[in-house]
Amino acid sequence: MKQFITFLKKEFAHVLRDKKTLLILFGMPIVQILIFGFALTNEVTNARILIVDQAQDDISQQIIAKISASRYFEIENIISDASQIDRAFQQGIIKMTIVFPANFSSNLAHENKGQIQLITDASDPNTANTLANYASNIIQDYQRETNTLISQPFEIRPEVRMLYNPQLKAVHNFVPGVMALVLMLVCVMMTAVSIVREKEMGTMEVLLVSPFKPILVMIAKAVPYLLLSLINMVTILLLSVFVLQLPVNGNILLLFGESTLFIITCLTVGIFISVQTSSQQAAMLISLMGMMLPTILFSGFMFPIENMPMPLQIFSNIVPAKWFYIIVKSIMIKGVGFSGIWKETLILAGITVFLLAVSLKTFKIRLS
């Protein structure tokens, strides 16, 4: 028994002295609970919407006022030209458009029936449904309130149109998310581990003494994973299109180009991690914890980012997967061309260049 206690003491010493792992073991649940608690809500608030008011009369104004007062919606703009609608959706500025047709009031007056069109961006089917429901409810509310005041009750029927994904298939949502996750995991972790392995084995020194430039060492290590990831991506796409029946509305070449960029971004993250750590275990741990969790939470494919507290929203901007998710959805589901995603592309490219520069600098400092 005494021997067992002695051994037990040693084991406690091991655990307690490894402060970094302790931090993760105790810190992680706290962080997760807080983040999950605050970030995860499927409720949609302050959704940006467009109103096309071609009627421009009392009733439409009243309904618009009600919508404006609702915490679920934030009116981005009120216009009268229906041709703007497509572009607004494609640019991702708004999630829903409410259209009051020109003959709205006359129809109500003469036939006691009016139609309002609700057009939603169904590339995120959950949000689309929710928003359509909220809007319908507000309209019904108005109808009920007004009808108790007038002699001839009227009926307003909202006509709902789900853009890009009329069947509200969830696959549209999670395939881009899974793509981002898989690419990120493979590229970041494998590259980081591969580089750190050279350091651990001692062969890194020999490479550094040789005329082979250090940046080429890193690039050479990243290239096999680049190819692997491209193959992975093709596999995911083939499966999604042929087995899950995901449509690809946009340019496939553009999709490949953007995916290659994202892969390179992830590889750079891997390189960055490898320069900071000296053990393979640490590299793996940081890749998994530091990359996978934020990617799942903050890329936007499981939980809408717009509904998270502001600090978390700002944080989500540095998660490369967030931008890639937007790009993939735009291309695959909305059929948007490069002009619609150049901003996100630029951000990804910027992150890549920044990380590469910092990695090189840190690497050189370590050498001297």
Binding site: M201, T203, E205, L207, V209, S210, P211, L367, S368
Partner: protein
């Protein structure tokens, strides 16, 4: 005789700690130069500076005639290096390792073919050439590692404790390889803890607490310190050291 290494007051500081203190030495072409010192004396720091792995804080040096600050690329092309951990990839075969290291030093395919055949013959590794390095016994790994480090015929090769952990016979065979290379004109710069190996060198320097405290041939050193063996010389010098185990 050509000076392959020439340093003047080469120093490396880490904050307040002076790891290598005003190292001044010369190594001549074709020499076998032993670099001795207790653990913590600064040998590794000094060698890393000479290899271009770390930038000196002050002082000057030229390696194979190239400046240590401004011409590191040229230095790297003209030196070879064998690290303490043996520098070979365990999960690659013997041939793959030879081709890899030869390749990154810029040897052409033709050269690689010739040299690898020659190397394998000389080391008697014909049957093992397609086997993974991890399957080789330690002694063979060391010999292979050394041969790979001089594959590109550098002017000088740096060996960092190359014979750790093997029996005296194997160590002797290793030194035969070193003599072979030295006869071909390669300068050998070797650090070691084995005092009998110190006797194999043309000249030796002994570092204590960051400084070079002795530099001469083994015979002269033994006379100078009135000692019968290099071990005694070493003991006399290193005994008073403040750093180390």
């Amino acid at each position: 005789m050509d000076k392959v290494i020439q340093t003047s007051r080469l120093t490396k500081r880490f904050g307040d700690f002076i790891a290598a203190n005003e190292i001044t030495l010369e190594v001549f072409q074709g020499e076998i130069f032993g670099f001795l010192g207790a653990n913590g004396a600064g040998k590794t720091t000094a060698m890393r500076m000479l290899c271009g792995l770390s930038k000196p804080t002050s002082g000057t040096a030229t390696i194979a005639g190239f400046d240590i600050y401004k011409q590191t690329e040229l230095i790297k092309r003209n030196i070879g290096y064998m690290s303490q951990k043996f520098s070979l990839y365990d999960d690659l075969t013997v041939l793959e390792n030879i081709y890899f290291f030869g390749g990154i030093y810029g040897l052409s395919n033709k050269q690689l073919k010739e040299k690898s055949t020659e190397l394998i013959e000389r080391l008697g590794l014909k049957r093992e050439s397609s086997k993974l390095v991890s399957s080789l016994p330690l002694g063979w790994k060391q010999k292979l590692s050394f041969s790979v480090s001089v594959l590109h015929e550098p002017r000088i090769v740096f060996l960092d404790e190359p014979t750790g952990g093997v029996d005296p016979v194997t160590r002797r065979q290793f030194w035969d390889l070193i003599y072979d290379a030295a006869n071909k004109g390669v300068t050998i710069f070797v650090t070691t803890h084995y005092m009998d190996e110190a006797e194999y060198c043309n000249r030796i320097s002994i570092m204590v607490d960051g400084r070079v405290e002795a530099l001469d041939s083994p015979t002269n050193l033994k006379k100078q310190f009135n000692a019968k063996s290099m071990e005694e010389v070493f003991y006399q010098l290193a005994r008073g050291a403040k750093r180390g185990d």
